[in-house]
């Protein structure tokens, strides 16, 4: 264990120690010196403590327990006499401490204006809690205070003293307050806000002397004005506190000079915070100090780290005044200002651009977009496209957003939220009030959102309504409990890391479980087969029972068998084969489906292969009525027979079905082809719908007719059948490659935007052809009858029980 001595318990050193102990608690034995008789606290919040709006206890960042837990030797209230770099010893007022590494974090010292009277009792600066206590001691009704300096700190001091009952005057050298950030018009607004608080503002005031005998009594300005002053606060600026560093011979310019790893000119001595100068810059705000602390913690642990400077932002902490500034707003060549003023509302906004980048922002009176502008500055975003509307903020594009939760709030308790499980709003609220505070708990308790998942968003809204901001609306949902990655993350990583099997995924992506769960395994199986159609072997054991057994499981454990009926067209031979199978295997119900085919319901698992073989013999193949893949292509009669038919809709429907059948997709896909705009095939509520017209075919997509009903949106007009087939294949392939597993096409299009889909599938011919080609590659593997595969004689035993021990018993 090495010895680390830290001089200064300000915000930078507090953060440094946190980072250091978090990374390696046993690397250093730490001694922490502080001239103030107390530990680390949030110095930025001293202004509200002065005003009485916060208590000191609330702003302490590290308390006795924290120091004890991390075994920090605290030497608070002890000044440093000197640093002896030869002996590697720090000499404190109460004794010396040897060091292996030393960190100087002495912060800043306030400028003291060189006027007569500056040393009188009653003249204070505003750096620490002791200053605040002195100021509060002077407060009393009828007492006067003069604050010299109308920048952020001076104004905060003035407002605080005013709230505590003093008569306050602010003296400011420049023509208007906060002249570095604000132009005269905005400075005027700010001055008015101060005056509304009864604070007198004297601009263009230069202090000549502080008058008084035993203590300060008044302040005299160069223009002969005097203001009575029982208290004088000097808030004219700060400079790095470098005395100790200077005395021990370290390189010091304006601040203690450090490199990117926070080394000083001595290899065992480091510095951070307001006392340093890095790449010729000194910082007086907190974010850079945190960035420096992160780097220094790494350096102290022998790891590489580089501090590269920071973007800074500040707020004025005067209750009722909204002011936000960020970045660099100095007037320089090559910079451009965009200013917005609304004097009626007291709003002023100024943006400083250099080239195509935002480098500074000042917002007065309306700071709602502050964080957005700051991120544009930090990310150095190219704002050339947004120049015209930049000043209006991120919300400029939309109108007022509809109140998202009002509809759910208005639902009565009996309203059904989860259709699959019949759970109403009242039941969900009851579960929440009974203690279920996470979605998983509500699911487990009520079953809501535990089946198809469509109502999950609604359940989350009911939770937000009931729990308030105690419930965090999830933003990026992880795939399942096995990982923190989202579906999109995993898809991308499968591609970029070339992961070609489920074990590769669970291994490389650090799954929390050995082989996933019933949620992620089917999703992974799909993503893998979509990404690597030729290399990946489909994993049956990662499929739901329906897809594994190629038949729909019913509630009693029997299955439904649906042979394909291409485009809804059949033949007498096919019908006979279906009827024969129904009789041979004692099928309890034969039913016509909405997808224009016939369903044999109630088939026993062990009979499936034999039934399939019989159906195959008549030329019938699997209808994939159970798959996340192509289900059906509904057709109406069309020009073959119908007097209104403009094209051969039936023929086209059959061609489409033959193109797409067998493919696996993120969720089921259903098509419809209508022979004329009368739309007898109901094509306009399908995933892909085609309406035949005289000039050709109108393709539209993203419809829905299940739990949600939605009309399709126009995608393209195609003159030939070939083009319809190509566009449809491209659309389906794009869907397969980019959608989230279990998102129907309408959900996917809503997420990615129809315009983008159009661009890839319709407008960009090369992209369309490439997508259709990739679809064909995938189909070369999957466009085949699964029944035929599993009906083979040697496979049949696998569909029956492993053994029948009831026979033994009969013996």
């Amino acid at each position: 264990m090495q010895k680390l001595v830290v001089i200064g318990a300000g915000m930078a050193s507090g953060r440094l120690l946190e980072q250091l102990f978090a990374a390696n608690p046993d690397a250093y034995d730490v001694t922490l010196f502080n001239a103030e008789p107390r530990g680390n606290y949030n110095r930025l919040m001293l202004s509200p403590v002065l005003s009485g709006e916060k208590s000191f206890a609330e702003i302490i960042t590290h308390d006795e327990d924290w120091y004890a837990a991390h075994k920090v030797n605290c030497r608070f209230g002890e000044a440093i006499v000197k640093i002896d770099r030869d002996r590697k010893v720090v000499v404190g007022a109460k004794g010396e401490v040897p060091y292996d590494k030393l960190v100087i974090a002495t912060g800043s010292a306030p400028f003291i204006i060189p006027v007569p009277g500056r040393d009188l009792p009653g003249v204070v600066t505003f750096r620490d809690l002791d200053d605040v206590e002195k100021m509060r001691g002077a407060c009393g009704q009828g007492k006067s205070a003069v604050v010299i300096g109308g920048g952020l700190l001076g104004l905060e001091a003035a407002a605080g003293l005013r709230l505590q009952g003093m008569d306050v005057t602010v003296i400011h050298l420049a023509g208007h307050l906060m002249e570095r950030q604000l132009d005269p018009a905005a400075g005027y607004l700010l001055g008015r806000a101060m005056e509304a608080r009864g604070i007198r503002v004297h601009t263009q005031g230069s202090t000549k002397a502080i008058l008084g005998h035993a203590r300060c009594e008044a302040v005299l300005l160069a223009d002969e004005t005097t203001y009575p002053a029982d208290l004088v606060v000097l808030a004219v600026g700060i400079r790095p506190e470098v005395r100790l560093a200077n005395d021990c011979g370290l390189e010091v310019a304006r601040g203690i000079v450090v490199d990117d790893a926070m080394h000083t000119s001595d290899p065992d001595v480091f510095a951070l915070g307001e006392c340093v100068e890095h790449r010729k810059t000194c910082y007086g705000l907190v974010a850079p100090l945190y960035d420096m602390a992160k780097v220094l913690a790494k350096t102290l642990l022998g790891e590489a780290g580089a501090y590269e400077g920071s973007e800074v932002s500040t707020k004025l902490k005067v209750t009722g005044v909204d002011l936000f500034s960020a970045g660099d707003f100095a007037d320089k060549e090559g910079r451009e200002d965009i200013v917005f003023r609304d004097p009626g509302r007291g709003v002023y906004k100024r943006l400083v651009l250099e080239g195509d980048r935002l480098i500074g922002a000042v917002l007065y009176g309306d700071t709602a977009d502050g964080a957005w502008f700051f991120s544009l500055i930090k990310d150095a975003t190219d704002v050339s496209e947004m120049r015209e509307t930049l000043i209006f903020g991120p919300a400029y594009q939309g109108g007022a957003k509809a109140d998202p939760m009002a509809a759910v709030a208005a639902l009565p308790p009996e309203a059904e939220i989860c259709g699959c499980n019949g759970v109403c709003k009242g039941r969900i609220v009851e579960a929440i009030e009974g203690g279920a505070t996470t979605l998983d708990q509500v699911r487990a308790e009520t079953k809501a959102s535990s089946s198809c998942g469509t109502c999950t968003g609604l359940v989350e809204q009911v939770m937000a309504l009931t729990l308030g901001d105690g419930f965090k609306m999830p933003t990026a949902q992880p795939m399942c409990k096995c990982t923190d990655l989202t579906h999109e993350d995993v898809r991308r990583l499968i591609k970029s890391q070339g992961l070609k099997s489920i074990p590769a995924v669970t291994q490389e992506l650090a799954w929390k479980t050995p082989n996933g769960c019933h949620s992620c395994r089917p999703a992974l199986n799909f993503y893998l087969l979509a990404e690597w159609p030729l290399d990946y072997r489909d994993d049956r054991q990662s499929r739901f029972v329906n897809e594994r057994n190629h038949a729909n499981i019913q509630k009693d454990g029997t299955y439904s068998v649906v042979p394909r009926m291409w485009g809804g067209v059949t033949t007498p031979a096919e019908l006979r084969a279906i009827a024969d199978a129904a009789e041979k295997y004692d099928v309890p119900m034969v039913k016509v489906t909405g997808g224009q085919r016939i369903d044999l319901l109630g088939v026993k698992k062990e009979d499936l292969p034999a039934m399939w073989a019989d159906l195959n013999a008549a030329g019938l193949v699997s209808g994939h009525a159970y798959s996340k893949g192509l289900r059906t292509v509904k057709t109406c009669v069309g020009s073959q027979f119908c007097r209104f038919g403009t094209q051969d809709s039936t023929g086209l429907g059959i061609k489409l079905e033959q193109l797409l059948w067998g493919s696996w997709t993120p969720h089921k896909v259903k098509l419809g082809v209508s022979g004329c705009p009368r739309n007898c095939a109901e094509a306009t509520c399908k995933d892909v719908g085609v309406i035949c017209v005289d000039s050709g075919y109108q393709i539209s997509v993203a419809g829905a007719a299940g739990m949600e009903v939605k009309e399709t949106e126009a995608l393209a007009a195609a003159p030939t059948e070939e083009e319809v087939l190509e566009i449809t294949a491209a659309f389906v392939q794009l869907y397969r490659e980019t959608a989230k597993y279990l998102d129907r096409p309408y959900k996917w299009v809503a997420k990615v935007g129809l315009d983008w889909v159009k661009a890839q599938v319709v407008d960009d011919l090369e992209s369309r052809k490439a997508l259709a080609a990739r679809f064909e590659i995938s189909q070369s593997v999957y466009r085949k009858d699964p029944w035929a595969e599993h009906a083979a004689a040697d496979e049949r035993p696998r569909w029956a029980p492993l053994a029948d021990l009831t026979l033994e018993a009969a013996e």
Partner: protein, 316 residues
Amino acid sequence: MMDAALDAVIDGAKLTFVEVSEVWVPKEGRLVLAEGDYGRHTDFAKASGTESFAPGEGLPGKVWAEARPVVLKSFEGSYFKRTEAAKAAGLTSAVAIPVFAGAELKAVLTILCADGDGRVGAVELWKDSDGLLMLDDGYYGAAKHFEWVSQHTHFPRGQGLPGGVAASKTPILMRDLGAGYRFIRADSAGKAGLTTGLGMPVPVPGGTSYVLTLLSARGTPLAHRFEIWDARAEKVGRDGGAVLVDGICAREGALWNDQTERRVLPWQGYVGRALATGVPQVDGSGAAGIAGGYTSIVVLPIHSDGAVSHVVAWYI
């Protein structure tokens, strides 16, 4: 001095000053009870459930008709309708706060207090008169030093809690009221005087500005948890919602955070509901949505320029 200020505001162990909170809403020309938290005062609850008030009638009706908040210091012989029931419950004073959105009355929030048991607190009503906040009325419970009160009758804008609230037009929770408030003494509360206070603007039609302050002494907190939310578009943007700007809790400590922002959307929880409806919310059932695990919550929305600008919540 300052370290103990936090205890004074929110000491979780002690009984609080406020005993009963009610929300009265206008319905067919009368004020009817929408919500009420009566704590252990079940008889008073029963007596109140069937009440309703015409404009001018009783305390809520008076506040409606006169379009101003009212502090009622003694029920006996006054226009208060439920005097007998209040006496039986040990309730001694009341404040009625009208919630106006422009000229429309959305609700009246009534707060009933009990003193005794060593509880010391004050409720003050201030009126803005040409930039000077004048004490319109005040209830000081067990404190009996009226000389102080006669000194303490006005604050210029920006000065003291009432002046600060009037100047900034926002609620303020002061942990340490400062020297000006120290002079009030109560025989049973020791030498601490009144140290902490919650100040709120009470907008009413007609241009007069009122500020309501609820003050407490060390050891007798107003409530166990406070939250102040800012809902102005200049702060939260056009998407609505409100951001927590200040708050402390006896259990969770400081709720404000200068690094991360806490936000609610309209309708989200009690604060969201007050934000969306513009009507105060009161719940004494200890439901899961009441933060901090407390039994009761009172949420007061404050309107300005046609929208809810701030929301104040306190929990018992």
